[in-house]
Symmetry: C2
Subunit: 250 residues, 2 copies
Amino acid sequence: MDLSKSKLKYIRSLKEKKYRTEFGTFVAEGNKLVTDLLPFIKCQLLIGTHTFLEGLDVSDVEDVIEVTESQLAQASFLQNPQQVLAVFYQPKQPENVNVDSQLTIALDGIQDPGNLGTIIRLADWYGIHNIFCSQDTADVYNPKVVQATMGALARVSVHYTDLSVFLIRNKHLPIYGTLLDGKNMYEQTISENGIIVMGNEGNGIRPEIEKLITQRLYIPNYPLGSSTSESLNVAIATAIICAEFRRRIL
Amino acid sequence: MDLSKSKLKYIRSLKEKKYRTEFGTFVAEGNKLVTDLLPFIKCQLLIGTHTFLEGLDVSDVEDVIEVTESQLAQASFLQNPQQVLAVFYQPKQPENVNVDSQLTIALDGIQDPGNLGTIIRLADWYGIHNIFCSQDTADVYNPKVVQATMGALARVSVHYTDLSVFLIRNKHLPIYGTLLDGKNMYEQTISENGIIVMGNEGNGIRPEIEKLITQRLYIPNYPLGSSTSESLNVAIATAIICAEFRRRIL
């Protein structure tokens, strides 16, 4: 089947959140990413080259279109288009997930799509299944976020919610945050479950969220107290904290 | 003084490595970044708003131009220009630095400017003063790299070199690499000095570099051996390793 103008227009519209929300779909590109998501997330439209489609089980895909590489390039959002572009349905996230026995991440206003995607990817690496985001956090279905997740969306649920309400509902759990006046995290007791709150790239954690934090942590620099960079990138800080939480219970 | 067309053209040319190399300069933008670099790196041209320049010591700057925000926007590489854009001279890196007593990072073909900038920033956080890059690693003076370093360029030297030659010259040091068949890093002896090699985003470490690695490490996922994402982003992996090296000797 041919790649019609109306389909091209539909795909391009999914660059914008407004249309992603209206249609309840999102775009993923690249052989590995698409192959990783296909078994887990319902696919509406798969546009692939003959090489990619050969031998692939597409029985669950609603619409499959075989194209040439140059046709694919027309649809692609990437500078270097690969062999496939897919439109997936946004998975419905269950409401009121019980996170009592889990380690969970809460994101307060993360803006950079690369940071959000990288955090989802590392959450997956560390067996963290739920991420709760403030409503003003970047959209998980932004194509740049999707590409940075490297398929972790198949295993990590990303929820958008009022973070204050979420944290108050879970106030029986330890709520961790990294703050400049926190305590050296290597010297603190760390629980197997709980919520790790990470804040906006420039402004950190909002005051109304910060006051709900029960365990104020600090990632020590080296040598301790030296005048190095004042902060770490938020995805980097998230990784160092998650690695330490998991190291303790390995 | 006015922002002449020839200066605008000069600034724009610095988006390209060819011209950055020809002129030996690079661009940095934003109040905090520029203020952080000014005391450490010689500044050729500073274009700032009245608000930014007020009270700032610019006696060492060769050329200072006060502009309006809209004039600055013309010169800026950023989507949201700030109050200042500066052209700095590329610091001359000393040759044959002795890294015997240091922890050092070696980058084998890192392509993404954001990853390189983030690694430089975290190196600074962890008191790592030298990063050695293969010749095909992204250019440290690429504006996207500079912006992601958040001022760490004032304290971290980035060298471009033949990595094999560099590693062979330092083969009396432990040479660490993260490899899928490596050993759980939490169970390995770690030295206070040595070289941590990190590889390209898609292809990892080149075979000729890999064979020079003496300590093959693995960052365990959680739960151990579960089928999570197959890998971590390279800047994330670098951070987790550096954090662990520093934790041991805190």
